[in-house]
C-alpha cells in the first residue's frame, strides 16, 4: 500500500474582522490514509476546512493538490478538482429527493438537458447501499431523521469520487451502530486509495479510525501530521488544550431516600405515542434517560413541557398534580427548565446578543410596573452565571451566532440557571462541544444537583451518561424498558443498558 502525498496546505493564514482565525497552519494528507484534524472549538478547524474547499480564501499560504498549487475561487472549483466535503451544518435541500441531493453537483453539466431521474435513483441507490442505508432514493430529504440526513450528506460527498474527502463531525448525530457502519465504509474507501480528513470531538473515534493526526490550538499547529500510533488519549488532550485533562470521573452521589420527588410522571400517555411512562426525579438527583436516537426521549421532555398534550396519566411537581400547557407555565409557575438538544433551532436566538439570550427567561419576573426593564437589571441578574460558566465572549453585546459551539451551549444552560429552576431537563448537553467545555458542564450539572436541583439528563453519549447519572432509565420505542442504578463502571453499565434495549426489541 504505497502512500503518497495527496494534498498539502502550508502556512495558511486567515483573518476575519477582529479575529485572526488561522496563523500559519500546515497540514499534509496522504493517500491510503485517514487523517484526524483535532482541536477545541474555535481552534480554527472549520475555517481551515472552508479554505481547503474554496468557501473562504486564505490571506497567505499555499494549497497543493497532487504536487500542483491550486486556488479555489468557489466550492464549485474545489469540487471540480475532486475535493469533497461533508460540512458540519445541514447542507441538503429539504424538498429534494435523496438521489437528487446526492447528485446535485453533477446536474450542472448542461442546464437544459432533462434530468434522468431513473438513472439518478439507480446511482444513488448504489451509494446508499454501500453505506448500508435502507432508504428509497426518491424520498424527500425532509422526511428523514437527522441521522439519516447526515448519512445522505456523506453519500453525497462520496458520489463525487473525491480524491480528498473532508468530514467535519460526521458522527455527531449518529447512533453507535450507524457510526460503526460508517467507519467500516471509510476504511474501505481508505484502502481503495482515497485521502480522508476526519474532524471529530470524540477522541475515541479519532483514535480508533485515523492513522495520522494534526492538532490545532488557537489557530496554530499544536502538532502537524504525525502518526496516530504511539499517541495516547492524554497526549492528544494535552496537545489540544495545552494541559492535562482534569479529573472529571464518576462520583457516587447519594440522595437520602426520604427526599420527596421533585417531579413525578404517573402512567403518562401522550399524543405522540408514549405509553405507561412512570418516572420520578428527586431533589438533588441526576436521573439519566438513555435511548437511541428516535426512542422518544426528547418527545417526552416536550410533552412534560406542554408542547404536546398528555392523553392519560399525571405529571406531579412537588407532589401536586400540575397541568403544564406551555414552556412559559413550566418556567414561571413550576420552575421547570429545558436545555434543548437543538441549540441553533430551539436553544438560542442566534442573531441576538449574549445578554438577550441569557436573560430571556428572567425578563418577565424582573420586569416592574408596565413591564419596565433595563439592561442593567438583566445584566445584574445574568452576569454571575455567565461568569460562573466562564463564557468566552468579548462582551455581553456580542451576537451569539459569532461564538463557538461550546460557549453557545454554556449560554443556553446559563439562562435556566439565571431563572433559578428547580427541575432541569437537559437534552444532549455536549453535542458539538469540546472536551474542556464538556468536562466543565459535567461539573456544573453535578454541582447543581448537589445544591438541590432535580436533573433529568437525556443523552445518547453513553460515557457521558455513565459519568453523570445516579440512576439510568432506558427508553425504547416510546416506552421505559427499565432502570439501572449507576455504579460508574463503563463495561457493566453499558452492557446493562444495551441488554434492556435489545430485550425490548426481541420481545
Amino acid at each position: 500500500m504505497a502512500s503518497e502525498i495527496a494534498f498539502q496546505a502550508t502556512g495558511i493564514e486567515k483573518s476575519f474582522p477582529g479575529v485572526k482565525a488561522l496563523k500559519g497552519v500546515s497540514l499534509t494528507l496522504k493517500t491510503h490514509s485517514i487523517h484526524a484534524l483535532l482541536g477545541e472549538n474555535g481552534a480554527g478547524k472549520s475555517t481551515l476546512i472552508k479554505i481547503i474547499t474554496g468557501v473562504h480564501h486564505p490571506d497567505a499560504g499555499r494549497l497543493i493538490l497532487e504536487g500542483q498549487e491550486v486556488h479555489f475561487a468557489s466550492p464549485r472549483e474545489a469540487i471540480a478538482h475532486r475535493v469533497g466535503v461533508v460540512h458540519q451544518e445541514r447542507n441538503l435541500i429539504p424538498r429534494f429527493s435523496v438521489a437528487e441531493n446526492i447528485h446535485l453537483e453533477q446536474l450542472g453539466a448542461s442546464l437544459l438537458k432533462p434530468v434522468d431521474y431513473a438513472n439518478l435513483n439507480k446511482q444513488a441507490a448504489r451509494w446508499l447501499e454501500a453505506l448500508g442505508l435502507d432508504i428509497d432514493p426518491r424520498t424527500p430529504v425532509s422526511r428523514l431523521s437527522v441521522a439519516k440526513m447526515q448519512l445522505v450528506e456523506i453519500a453525497k460527498a462520496l458520489s463525487l469520487r473525491s480524491r480528498v474527502l473532508l468530514l467535519d463531525e460526521p458522527t455527531a448525530s449518529l447512533t453507535p451502530s450507524e457510526t460503526d457502519l460508517l467507519f467500516s465504509f471509510l476504511r474501505k474507501l481508505r484502502d481503495s486509495g482515497a485521502s480522508l480528513l476526519f474532524v471529530s470531538h470524540k477522541l475515541e473515534e479519532a483514535q480508533e479510525l485515523c492513522d495520522s493526526v494534526t492538532v490545532l490550538r488557537d489557530g496554530s499547529n499544536a502538532c502537524e501530521s504525525r502518526p496516530m500510533e504511539g499517541l495516547g488519549r492524554q497526549d492528544i488532550v494535552r496537545l489540544m488544550i495545552g494541559r492535562a485533562e482534569g479529573d472529571g470521573g464518576w462520583r457516587k452521589r447519594d440522595t437520602p431516600p426520604g427526599v420527596p420527588p421533585a417531579i413525578e410522571l404517573k402512567n403518562v400517555e401522550t399524543s405522540l405515542g408514549h405509553a405507561n411512562v412512570n418516572l420520578h426525579v428527586r431533589k438533588g438527583e441526576i436521573v439519566g434517560l438513555y435511548g437511541l436516537v428516535g426512542a422518544g426521549r426528547t418527545e417526552l421532555a416536550k410533552c412534560i413541557l406542554g408542547q404536546f398534550p398528555l392523553t392519560a396519566g399525571t405529571v406531579e411537581i412537588d407532589g401536586k398534580p400540575a397541568k403544564i400547557r406551555s414552556v412559559g407555565e413550566a418556567l414561571h409557575i413550576h420552575r421547570v427548565g429545558y436545555v434543548s438538544e437543538d441549540r441553533k433551532g430551539e436553544g438560542l436566538v442566534l442573531m441576538h446578543s449574549v445578554l438577550g439570550n441569557a436573560g430571556i427567561t428572567v425578563w418577565r419576573p424582573l420586569s416592574a410596573l408596565l413591564g419596565f426593564l433595563t439592561d442593567r437589571l438583566v445584566r445584574h441578574k445574568v452576569t454571575p452565571y455567565i461568569e460562573k460558566l466562564e463564557v468566552k465572549t468579548p462582551s455581553l453585546a456580542q451576537t451569539v451566532a459569532n461564538l463557538s459551539g461550546g460557549n453557545q451551549q454554556k449560554i443556553s444552560v446559563a439562562k435556566w440557571l439565571a431563572a433559578g429552576v428547580k427541575i432541569l431537563l437537559v437534552d444532549e448537553p455536549s453535542v458539538g462541544i469540546d472536551i474542556k467545555t464538556k468536562a466543565y458542564l459535567h461539573d456544573l450539572l453535578r454541582e447543581l444537583a448537589d445544591n438541590g436541583t432535580a436533573i433529568l439528563l437525556i443523552t445518547s453519549d453513553m460515557p457521558e451518561m455513565i459519568l453523570l447519572a445516579d440512576r439510568i432509565l432506558v427508553m425504547n420505542d416510546y416506552r421505559l424498558q427499565g432502570q439501572l442504578i449507576n455504579d460508574g463502571s463503563y463495561a457493566g453499565m453499558s452492557e446493562g443498558i444495551m441488554n434492556l434495549i435489545h430485550r425490548s426489541e426481541a420481545a
Binding site: 483573518s15 476575519f16 474582522p17 477582529g18 413541557l305 408542547q307 406551555s326 414552556v327 412559559g328 413550566a330 418556567l331 414561571h332 429545558y338 434543548s340 433551532g345 430551539e346 436553544g347 438560542l348 436566538v349 442566534l350 442573531m351 441576538h352 446578543s353 445578554l355 438577550g356 436573560g359 430571556i360 427567561t361 425578563w363 418577565r364 424582573l366 420586569s367 408596565l370 413591564g371 419596565f372 426593564l373 433595563t374 439592561d375 442593567r376 445584566r379 452576569t383 461568569e387 466562564e390 465572549t393 462582551s395 455581553l396 453585546a397 451576537t399 439562562k415 431563572a419
Partner: protein, 346 residues
C-alpha cells in the same frame, strides 16, 4: 471573569443588535442609521444647491408634515415585520379607524378625545383579528392580511357608502396646519412620541424584548418560556393601533375623514410602509428592528420625492428619477459599508 468595556454603559440597546454611540465609534459608522443620516445630509445639500426654496420655511413645513405621516405608517409596518410577518392591511385598518373617528364625532356626537381613543382601539382590534387568525390557522400573515385588507376596506366602504365625515371640531384642522417655530408641524411630534414609545418598548420592557426574540426565532422563544402566539397577536394589535394613529394624523392634515385617504383597499400606504423599515435596516425575516432607522428611512424617501418635485425634472419621468435615486442611495450605502468593513480588517 469580567467584561471591562461593559459596566460603564447605559442601556445599550444591544439586544436589538443596534450599537449606540457609546459603543465603539466604528461600529456606529457601520450602522444603517449612520448611513441614512449621511445620505439625508448629502441629498439635502444637493437639493439646496440645485433648487430654489428647498430650505424655505414652507417647504420644510410641508416636508415635515408628509414625513410625519410616512414615519408613522412605516412604524406600523415595522412592528409586524419584526415578527417575520407582514401587515398588508395597514392602509385598510387606518381608513377604518379614521372613518370610525369621523362617525363618532359627526353622527354619534362624542367628544373628540373619546372618538380618537375609540379609533385607535378599533385599529388595535382589527390588528387583533389579523394576529389571532394568523396565529390560530398557522397561515402566513401575508395571505391573512391580504384577505382582511379586502374585508376591512369593503365593510368600511359598505357602511359609509364612501361618504366623508368633515364636520370635525376645528382643533383637528388647526392641528394639521399649526406651525411650530414657523417650520415644524406638530404632527412630527406625534410621530416622535410614537418612535420614543417603540424605542422604550423594545429596549426597556419585557414585552418588547419578547417580541424581538419571538420574531428572531419563534421556536427558541417558545422553548424559553415565551408565549409566542400571544406576542405575535400583540405585535399585530400594535400595528393596527399605529396605523390608526397615522390615519388620524391624515385626518388632521386633510381636515376630514375620507374613505380615499389611503387609496383603493388602502394600497397607497404599502410602498412607503415597507420602504421606511427596510431602508432603516429592519429585516423582513424578523427579529431585528430599528426604530430610528425606520424614521430616517421614511424621512429620506419623503425628502427625495420633495426634492425631485422641486427640481422639476420632466413631469412624467419623475417616478423614474425617484427609482434611480433610491437605487443610488442603497448602492452608496452598500459601498460605504463594504469599504468600512474592509478597512476595519486591515
Amino acid at each position: 471573569m469580567s467584561y471591562p468595556d461593559l459596566p460603564a454603559k447605559g442601556p445599550s440597546g444591544d439586544i436589538v443588535g443596534k450599537p449606540r454611540r457609546n459603543t465603539a465609534a466604528t461600529r456606529f459608522y457601520l450602522t444603517n442609521e449612520f448611513g441614512l443620516i449621511a445620505l439625508i445630509v448629502l441629498f439635502a445639500l444637493a437639493f439646496q444647491f440645485a433648487t430654489d426654496g428647498f430650505f424655505s420655511p414652507f417647504n420644510l413645513f410641508s416636508l415635515g408634515r408628509i414625513a410625519a405621516v410616512n414615519i408613522m405608517i412605516g412604524l406600523a409596518m415595522m412592528v409586524v415585520v419584526i415578527t417575520g410577518g407582514l401587515n398588508l392591511a395597514v392602509g385598510a385598518i387606518g381608513v377604518c379607524a379614521a372613518m370610525t373617528c369621523g362617525y363618532l364625532i359627526e353622527v354619534v356626537g362624542l367628544p373628540w378625545p373619546i372618538a380618537i381613543l375609540s379609533a385607535v382601539a378599533l385599529g388595535a382590534m382589527l390588528g387583533f383579528i389579523n394576529g389571532w387568525t394568523s396565529v390560530r390557522t398557522g397561515l402566513h400573515s401575508f395571505i391573512i392580511t391580504l384577505a382582511t385588507m379586502s374585508i376591512f376596506f369593503g365593510v368600511m366602504i359598505f357602511l359609509t357608502r364612501a361618504e366623508s365625515y368633515r364636520a370635525l371640531p376645528p382643533v383637528f384642522a388647526a392641528f394639521g396646519r399649526m406651525k411650530l417655530l414657523g417650520i415644524f408641524s406638530p404632527l412630527l411630534l406625534v410621530s416622535l412620541m410614537a418612535a420614543l414609545f417603540l424605542g422604550y418598548l423594545y429596549n426597556l420592557t419585557a414585552v418588547g424584548r419578547e417580541m424581538l426574540a419571538a420574531g428572531a426565532k419563534p421556536e427558541a422563544a417558545e422553548m424559553s418560556g415565551i408565549n409566542v402566539g400571544r406576542i405575535f397577536i400583540y405585535c399585530h394589535m400594535l400595528s393596527g393601533a399605529l396605523a390608526a394613529c397615522a390615519a388620524l394624523m391624515l385626518v388632521a392634515r386633510n381636515g376630514a375623514a375620507i374613505p380615499s385617504m389611503a387609496g383603493q383597499l388602502g394600497q397607497d400606504w404599502l410602498l412607503i410602509a415597507f420602504l421606511g423599515p427596510v431602508l432603516g435596516g429592519t429585516l423582513l425575516t424578523g427579529g431585528k428592528a430599528s426604530v430610528l432607522g425606520t424614521c430616517l428611512g421614511a424621512f429620506l424617501v419623503t425628502m427625495l420625492t420633495s426634492g425631485l418635485l422641486l427640481l422639476q425634472l420632466g413631469d412624467f419621468w419623475i417616478q423614474s428619477f425617484l427609482g434611480l435615486l433610491l437605487l443610488a442611495a442603497v448602492l452608496m450605502d452598500k459601498t460605504r459599508r463594504t469599504f468600512l468593513a474592509r478597512r476595519n480588517m486591515a
